[in-house]
Symmetry: C2
């Protein structure tokens, strides 16, 4: 059987490896348009923070290992441009200009996502970067290492924007963060967003909210980011306003798309064509809480999707449980974590949501080193269900959120969650874990 995978990152290489483990005699071909496969995209901000560290440290497994040890026909520099569903072939061109065609019995589209570029002018100027694939990181790092970069403007304050803010401050570079909205972290409660803002500003970064960018210009010495309220000089600009799924040639081939133009897949990761699967940042998923289609591009979801698709391709029926959008990021000394729905998402999904913000501590009463932990929690008045939770603190937020994530997998009520038997010892938390305190407070409103 010929199993062709388009895309050699998280979902694609997970699928290719798993397919070969499942069925050693399967012909597995991976077509990757770039020359980097299997790298830790999420690690780029931390790598870029350290000038002397090679960006190649982020490669988890060398291409050669996939070829020689795992027997995967891994072809880099191969850009697929067309899928023919009737003929069951994929066509494209190598970066050497050679055309290629591969027949498939089963195909996996794992083409990932591409940074969204805003429609103002100047995003193509030298010194303007986005950050998604390893080559983005390589070029940005070269720019930073080869020039006396003193000031950077970051457009957007999502995970990447904030992580790169920390990374650049580590290098002693001045940072201006710009976004049109009025909250630094728009999806959380004001108390939590303000605590993040305080942390970022205390580390010397400048935040410009309610400030839309109009254009980026070259100003001779460097770049100028022209905003509604002001103009900001920069030696480099990072555009980090989100990504979109790479689904163009899937759509052109006639495959069904869904939320945000992600490739529509069922719980087996199968697209609208029974021989074609899709996984990773290009594919949609079912949300655990709403049961509806969603698109949440995250690394673990891509890995899980790759495995599930590969199992189904190999005739081992597997369904992928939905996604909860569990995520965490570090911003200087703070950990911020989330799972499930935001208030806006809960309302949009037809729930009757109520929320609570509580402030607890990371360690027990009288234990030294305790710091505040904020918990924001949302429940549904109608069903009593837990809908989402968010946590912020200098310690103890990143892993705690997983208890709420598991609860979301089982449609647990806030009342049941408030009774869960969580761990306690003075160095690690209060007797009532901050999540339990939040659940108990939320219960009073439900």
């Amino acid at each position: 059987m010929d199993f062709v995978v388009i895309g050699g990152d998280a979902a694609g290489m997970s699928a290719a490896s798993r397919a070969k483990r499942n069925m050693a005699d399967m012909n597995v071909t991976v077509l990757e348009r770039n020359h980097d496969v299997s790298f830790s995209a999420c690690g780029m901000p931390y790598n870029i923070a350290v000038p002397e560290k090679p960006i190649e440290d982020l490669v988890v497994r060398q291409a050669e290992v996939f070829r020689s040890k795992q027997g995967i026909n891994l072809l880099t520099g191969h850009e697929v441009t067309k899928i023919d569903l009737a003929e069951k072939t994929v066509c494209g061109t190598t970066d050497q200009g050679t055309a290629f065609t591969f027949p498939y019995d089963k195909l996996l589209i794992a083409t990932g996502g591409t940074p969204v570029m805003p429609d103002f002018t100047g995003t193509d100027l030298p010194g303007v970067f986005s950050l998604k694939i390893l080559d983005n990181g390589r070029k940005m790092k070269a720019w930073l290492n080869e020039r006396p970069v003193k000031k950077v403007v970051i457009i957007g304050t999502g995970y990447i924007g904030l992580e790169m803010c920390e990374s650049l401050r580590e290098r002693g570079i001045e940072v201006d963060l710009v976004k049109p909205g009025k909250a630094l972290v728009s999806w959380t409660a004001p108390e939590l967003s303000e605590a993040v803002q305080q942390e970022v500003e205390s580390r010397g970064a400048r935040i410009h909210l309610c400030n839309g960018v109009q254009k980026i210009e070259s100003n001779g010495a460097g770049l100028s980011v022209v905003c509604q309220e002001n103009s900001l000089d920069a030696d480099m600009v990072l555009v980090a306003i989100g990504i979109r799924p790479n689904s163009d040639f899937a759509a052109a081939a006639g495959l069904e798309l869904s939320v945000k133009n992600a490739i529509s897949v069922d719980r087996h990761l199968c697209t609208s064509d029974p021989n074609i699967y899709s996984a990773g940042d290009c594919a949609d998923a079912y949300h655990l809480v709403t049961g509806e289609k969603t698109w949440i591009p995250l690394a673990l979801v891509a890995n899980r999707g790759g495995w599930t698709a590969a199992d189904n391709v190999c005739g081992i029926p597997k369904e992928m449980d939905g996604v909860a959008g569990t995520a965490v990021f570090k911003i200087f000394d703070l950990e911020m974590a989330r799972t499930g729905l935001t208030m806006a998402e809960a309302k949009a999904a037809g729930f009757d949501p109520v929320d609570v913000v509580i402030k607890s501590r990371s360690r027990a009463h009288a234990h030294p080193g305790s710091v505040p932990i904020h918990v924001y929690m949302i429940g549904d008045k109608k069903s009593g269900r837990l809908l989402g939770a968010q946590m912020l603190g200098k310690e103890g937020a990143a892993h705690r959120i997983n208890a709420a994530a598991v609860a979301l997998h089982t449609q647990m009520t806030v009342e049941t969650f408030s009774q869960t038997d969580l761990s306690y010892a003075p160095p690690f938390g209060p007797v009532w874990d901050p999540l339990l305190t939040a659940a108990n407070q939320l219960l009073k409103k439900m």
Copy 2:
């Protein structure tokens, strides 16, 4: 209504406070035989580590606050010795020698536990301590502060024994740990127990396994702990071989006991007498995994039990979900966490258990500061259910365990757990959380 509570620690004061919040006009009387209420027993090892820190720092809420702010009739120095079920009274004597009798409509027994004293001689010698109530800690700390204590022998290697080992090493005191069994941590996999042993020994404590204590003797200058294999000199001895429930007068009154002589309660925390409830270390509970009665004395369980009993006393019907035995302790730089059944418990409960030990990392590939994390996980071959998990590492174990604890609340299978949407970012873990890697490995055996 007269609500009488026997015992003024975690379960008792939680219940008294909640009852007054539920029904402000209720007469709530708490009878506590000691003079300390509402203190953090678990914080004692950390307090004792610092000579100049008053032990009273561990008092969470002063007795006076319960009296004046909450209107609770809190009577310390009142030891109950007898319950008369027919008359609905409790009798006893104050530490001033005055006899007392209180009538009750509803009674809560929250008498906690008492350290088990071994049957060899010498445990009553000056300088031999156990550690359960605040007064134990106060006396031990006075002993340590007032004498040139250079060497301590700790008999037992449970949570208290290990935490006190760290505490005493912090004070520069030599420590010998003695136990009859062959593993330092008997309930976990050998790999994890050995890693704890390495950590303890690397901090200069000496561990004596397979070594039963025969007696403690006074040797003029200090104490001598005479073991099967050797004799150990000491300026102080800590006996920490476990606790037993304080259920003697409950039994004498005719209340039903169960596992380990704990007071038998139903899911409403009601004993075999419909007017008497019990919660905390003296009461039994239902195990979440087996559904059977169990006795696991832990702080959160006591607090949850106090609330549940108070609600039922106030006519608000509440059931307490079972306990999973989720616990964590710190031993020097290591975090060790557990939830659910051990292998021995799983076999005894009639499951067909299989287990796996994996070694993962606390942070992502290429992220600085990553340390090993061990996960031990147990599943049931028949039902596919997750039965228990244990984790050990220098970071990232204490809170991660809660994800598995929540899974146990819902009888989740290992397969479903392996698909849960847990958090990921390079500073906090690998893409596949160590718990997910363990679940995926365990699945192969199931």
